[in-house]
């Protein structure tokens, strides 16, 4: 199968109602590993992820995948900060992305059952998705995203509203997905989580990629005063 990566952003910009949200951004997303997008509130983390995934229109510059956009869209998935639960049972929610890809109902439900077991959702298969707890909903979101085996997975602060044990479960799933070859791009507020998971870091500030690099180097020797302040836990304006 042809890889959709690298993704090249050239002076990519996103505007909404005349206001610049992100950009111009120059960046290349290569294959392999986990990139954590960090930065203060309103820095443009979510918009950057949405821009890469195609949920936010690129108002300037270019955003080019290695394959045509139509093909690239088939090999990506997105997990939202507030899980969007379809009004279906867990098994049907999991089977839905497979059904969209033309898989027969019985086969899709079979795959959904296998997937639910991997994610610890097997006891919830017949539950209604909107009735699950916050942690269960986010696990279901993740399972629904990964069931199609995307090459690139975007996650927008998936653990923002979860407690410690749910966060640990999500992180374990993400590490397993990374080990299986999924390229992960995730935003987070949690510096501890960024240090635990990141291979690379993008530090966003005022809609710009203020600093990018290998996680260990970034956390050890941040280059800009804003990044230094953010890592220290100071208020960054």
């Amino acid at each position: 199968m042809v890889s959709i990566l690298p993704l090249k952003l050239t002076a990519a910009t996103a505007h909404m109602r005349g206001k610049r949200l992100v950009g111009p951004v120059d960046f290349t997303l290569g294959s392999g590993g986990m990139t954590l997008v960090i930065g203060p509130n309103g820095a443009g983390k979510t918009t950057l992820l949405r821009l890469m995934h195609g949920l936010q229109r690129c108002s300037g510059g270019a955003l080019i995948w290695a394959v045509p956009d139509v093909e690239a869209r088939q090999s990506q998935a997105f997990v939202f900060q507030a899980p969007i639960m379809m009004r279906r049972r867990v098994i049907d929610s999991l089977a839905y992305p497979l059904r969209l890809r033309g898989m027969a109902k019985r086969a899709a439900r079979g795959r959904a059952q296998e997937c639910a077991q991997r994610f610890g959702l097997e006891d919830l298969l017949s539950s209604w998705a909107p009735m699950l707890s916050g942690g269960e909903k986010q696990k279901l979101s993740l399972a629904r995203a990964l069931i199609v085996e995307p090459e690139v997975l975007f996650l927008d602060e998936p653990c923002a509203n979860l407690d410690g044990s749910a966060t640990r479960e999500i992180e374990a799933i993400l590490l397993a997905a990374k080990a299986a070859g999924t390229r992960i791009v995730m935003s987070t507020h949690d510096m501890g989580q960024a240090k635990r998971l990141a291979d690379d870091v993008i530090f966003m500030h005022k809609g710009l990629m203020h600093e990018t690099g290998v996680a260990a180097e970034f956390f050890a020797t941040p280059l800009t005063p804003e990044a230094r302040a953010f890592i220290k836990g100071d208020i960054v304006e």
Binding site: H53, G54, L55, R73, Q74, A77, F78, F80, I84, M86, R87, R88, Y96, P97, L100, S127, W128, P130, M131
Partner: protein, 231 residues
């Protein structure tokens, strides 16, 4: 009054052939109209919720306004369409159950479409990012919204049923209230009241109310709404 109720119940349980003919024709006309209107109105409501196009707001405003279509005017319009000199006169539908179904479809389709549009618009706001992210086609989005919103859409359809089953003005004009042919519960009630046969009219009224309640309950049971732990 009390005697009227007693006579009405006696009539219902007498299994009068004429009465049951009227009941079955009422059911046939109403259910056919609701099915056709739902087949048009539900996808139309979903389509309007999902698509952005020039003059969309005005189309929705007109659709909402059409919810209050005066049935008598619809009856007159359908009458002119189907009368021998009208554009569809060749089909010979005037004063037939077919004409009554057409009139009812025109009356309740805007109601079903408008109510379903409001339901689906809210669901679309919730699902928008997810369905776009999943790279769904427009048809797949509409299908997902119709399926996941089915219980609320059932209510929209039942509102259409409620309006159709109690409709009298339009079907009186296009059906003609012909005995053994186009006489339904509502037109029969109007006729019997005019003749002073209050017991018979009351009996028909009780049957009409009972039918509306039974159909609603059956649809809710089939649709499995209002069960604990479901959406």
């Amino acid at each position: 009054m009390a005697q009227g109720f007693l006579d009405a119940w006696a009539l219902v349980f007498s299994f009068d052939v004429d009465l049951y003919e009227i009941i079955f024709l009422s059911l046939r006309v109403t259910i056919s109209a609701v099915i056709i209107a739902a087949l048009i109105g539900l996808p139309l409501g979903a389509w309007l919720a999902v698509n952005r196009f020039y003059l969309r707001r005005y189309v929705i405003a007109v659709l909402n306004a059409l919810m209050g279509l005066p049935p008598v005017v619809v009856g007159l319009f359908v009458y002119m369409l189907l009368s021998r000199s009208g554009p569809l006169g060749g089909f010979g539908l005037l004063f037939s159950p077919g004409a009554m179904i057409i009139a009812q479809v025109i009356i309740i389709t805007p109601l079903i479409a408008s109510l379903s549009h409001q339901t689906i618009r809210d669901l679309w706001a919730e699902y928008h990012d997810l369905l776009i992210s999943m790279n769904t086609t427009r048809a797949q989005r509409i299908m997902a919204l119709l399926w996941d919103g089915r219980r609320a859409l059932l209510t929209a359809t039942l509102a259409g049923l409620g309006r159709a089953i109690g409709e009298v003005g339009a079907i009186m004009i296009v059906g003609g209230n012909i005995e053994h042919s186009t006489r339904v519960l509502t037109t029969a009630i109007a006729l019997e009241t005019g003749k002073g046969n209050f017991a018979f009219a009351m009996g028909l009224g009780l049957v009409l109310i009972a039918l509306a309640i039974i159909i609603n309950l059956m649809i809710h049971m089939i649709g499995k709404t209002e069960r604990a732990g479901t959406w």
